[in-house]
């Protein structure tokens, strides 16, 4: 892997230049407690320190709502609405979110190729950013706290700038033109500082070790009393899945137009916390009660990992941080698995 260094000042200049390549999105502070990926206008507004965004980065490749095609019933024709090939650049993606995007790839590219997702992904540039965890983070026990793929560049915080790992050919091409101008060589002090940062970061996680066997406890303790107690509190609002960086569920609907002839087929994010998610023909419902629906998310995120060896949950903490009912996902999982040590 290639490593370069960039100063904080030059990082701003680099962001300016990225804006010329495509639409640049980066974390912004949107209110007292919340951050979101927003289009960068003034590079000085970019937040280099943040925990999690309220909307997950998957939305840039798999938008909340999109028109798949329009149709004309009289002509019996449909007109595909594939995404344009405009470049989207995401700056400041944490390692958990990068792994979450890879789990999306496993479904939307490897498993069931989705031309809409694939095309946006191919036109996307992902630039990672190091982070320090808060009490909601548990990416380390999910073993995704340090990524070695899935990014074009990855920025590691140093006291005077960033140590940048170059992950792909696209990454090389972003660095090459500015080598010596914006980017410089890494010196032993920088490596030392990166190492110190990682050490500090490791010690900050409130959970330690790994949760490799969680999946099995989830499956073995399907009737754990936690589900009854916690689903009672649940509002069925869907915030936990809509903010989750690895949720994939969508619904599809035809929206007719007033001419009685044409219309569009849209797809939009769905949530297994909603009643209609499990509703099928004949008014049957796979997940009839709120408890069934609550249960489903816990299983899906932790033990339905057919296409990947890691769980879909990457430990980003969103489903707890953005739960209006204050339901503690991490704590509840620990209760099921019987994990004790290291939790505070």
């Amino acid at each position: 892997m290639r490593y370069v260094k960039i100063s904080k000042q030059n990082t701003y200049e680099f962001l300016e230049r990225l804006k010329k390549i495509g639409t640049l999105y980066a974390p912004h502070k949107i209110s007292e407690k919340f951050f979101d990926f927003c289009e960068v206008d003034d590079v000085k507004d970019v937040m280099f320190e943040y925990q999690r965004t309220i909307r997950p980065p998957r939305r840039f490749f798999y938008p909340e709502r999109e028109v798949l095609f329009t149709f004309d019933t009289r002509k019996v024709e449909l007109y595909e609405n594939l995404p344009s090939d405009k470049k989207q650049i995401l700056f400041g993606v944490h390692s958990c979110d990068i792994v979450a995007l890879r789990t999306m790839d496993s479904k939307f590219i490897d498993d069931q190729p989705d031309p809409y997702y694939k095309s946006r992904r191919e036109n996307g540039i992902v630039i990672g950013l190091s982070c320090l965890p808060d009490e909601y983070c548990f990416c380390n026990v999910r073993r995704v706290e340090f990524v070695d793929a899935g990014f074009d560049l990855f920025f590691h915080e140093l006291p005077d700038g960033f140590l940048v790992r170059v992950g792909t050919v696209v990454g090389h091409k972003l660095v090459d033109p500015y080598e010596g101008e914006l980017f410089e060589e890494v010196c032993p002090d920088d490596t030392e500082n990166m190492s110190k940062f990682e050490e500090k970061r490791t010690s900050m996680f409130t959970t330690q070790g790994n949760w490799d066997n969680l999946r099995y406890f989830m499956e073995l303790r399907l009737n754990h009393p936690m589900y009854i107690r916690e689903s009672e509190k649940c509002l069925g609002c869907g915030n936990c899945t809509l903010t989750c960086p690895s949720c994939k569920c969508y619904d599809v609907q035809d929206i007719p137009s007033i001419d009685g002839r044409t219309g569009e087929r849209i797809r939009f994010w769905d949530s297994c916390q909603f009643r209609s998610h499990g509703l099928v023909a004949g008014d049957h419902n796979f997940r009839e009660t709120k408890q069934d629906r609550f249960h489903n998310r816990y299983q899906c995120k932790n033990s339905y990992c057919s296409a990947t060896t890691t769980s879909f949950c990457v430990g980003c903490g969103r489903c707890t941080y953005f739960c209006p009912a204050d339901i503690q996902f991490k704590k509840n999982l620990m209760e099921i698995a019987g994990y004790k040590g290291g939790y505070s």
């Binding site: 309220i54 009672e232 069925g236 869907g238 609907q253 929206i255 007033i258 909603f274």
Partner: protein
């Protein structure tokens, strides 16, 4: 259910737009949608007083949109007549779907007490009733909630009927649209009693987008999935009293049968 089945655009479905006790805001919304001219070309408005004084009441129609709650005996008679003359009946707006704000006395005061409170000993020229949603009296085929309803949903309903299909109702809460709109959550951040979690989606979290908590104008999420108990628990943990919670839930949800039992479960029988 197909309305224009077989007529291949040649015949126009007959539509009636009626008002019971209401502010006429829903009709106004329908009359002022951007594509009202296209609607007027596609359907034949047999009855829509806001658009034409040549309206009949009631008329034989394929689809009737009824706004307003049943608040007088006259409302009730009219509603029965409308139902008899309509193939499909759509409840239009908060009053029609859930009884509206005028239902606030439901379960708290009898109609006589309410009348005395508002009019004293004064007489009014009609026999009043406790305000109720129209579904208490007649069969309703579709519900188009909102105070007033949203333009895209009005267009969706009419277009779906023109297609010979039916509109799919939303059964998920405002929170989902709030999150997708990228709003900060004001319930989490400011501890304000937002009703988004129990309110039917469709407004794209209109109020929260303007930084105001939802008061539930689109009514409780259908199919008994409005969890007043869980939300009351959340509010209680933030120090909000039973009275405050109750009052808020009742603005647009007084008729929901789950409301009182669920509140009682959290706060107990007393205030």
């Amino acid at each position: 259910m197909a309305i224009i089945d077989g007529c291949d655009g040649e015949c126009q479905p007959r539509v009636g737009v009626y008002a019971l006790t209401s502010c006429y805001g829903c009709q106004l919304k329908l009359a002022t949608v951007q594509k009202i001219m296209e609607i007027a070309n596609a359907v034949s408005f047999e009855s829509f007083y806001m658009l034409s004084s040549a309206s009949k009441h009631p008329a034989d129609v394929d689809v009737a949109f009824v706004e307003g709650s049943v608040s007088t005996e006259k409302d009730l008679e009219e509603l029965y007549e409308i139902r008899k003359h309509s193939r499909i009946l759509v409840a239009l707006g908060a009053c029609s779907v859930n009884g509206g704000v005028q239902s606030w006395a439901e379960g708290e005061m009898t109609h006589e007490e309410l009348h005395a409170k508002v009019y004293g000993t004064g007489k009014i020229g009609m026999k009043g009733l406790q305000a109720t949603p129209i579904s208490k009296h007649v069969e309703v085929d579709y519900y188009l909630p909102g105070c007033p309803p949203e333009e895209d949903e009005i267009m969706y309903f009419i277009s779906a009927f023109l297609f010979g299909t039916f509109p799919e109702p939303k059964d998920y809460p405002v929170c989902s649209e709030c999150r997708l709109a990228g709003n900060p959550c004001i319930l989490i951040e400011r501890g304000e009693p937002c009703l988004g979690p129990v309110t039917t989606a469709g407004c794209k979290a209109r109020c929260i987008t303007f930084n105001v908590p939802c008061i539930g104008c689109r009514g409780p999420v259908p199919h008994d999935t409005a969890w007043f108990d869980s939300l009351a628990m959340t509010f209680k943990n933030k120090g909000i009293s039973k009275d405050q919670v109750r009052e808020r839930f009742r603005i647009f949800g007084a008729h929901n049968p789950n409301l009182e039992p669920m509140l009682k479960k959290i706060y107990g029988g007393t205030d």
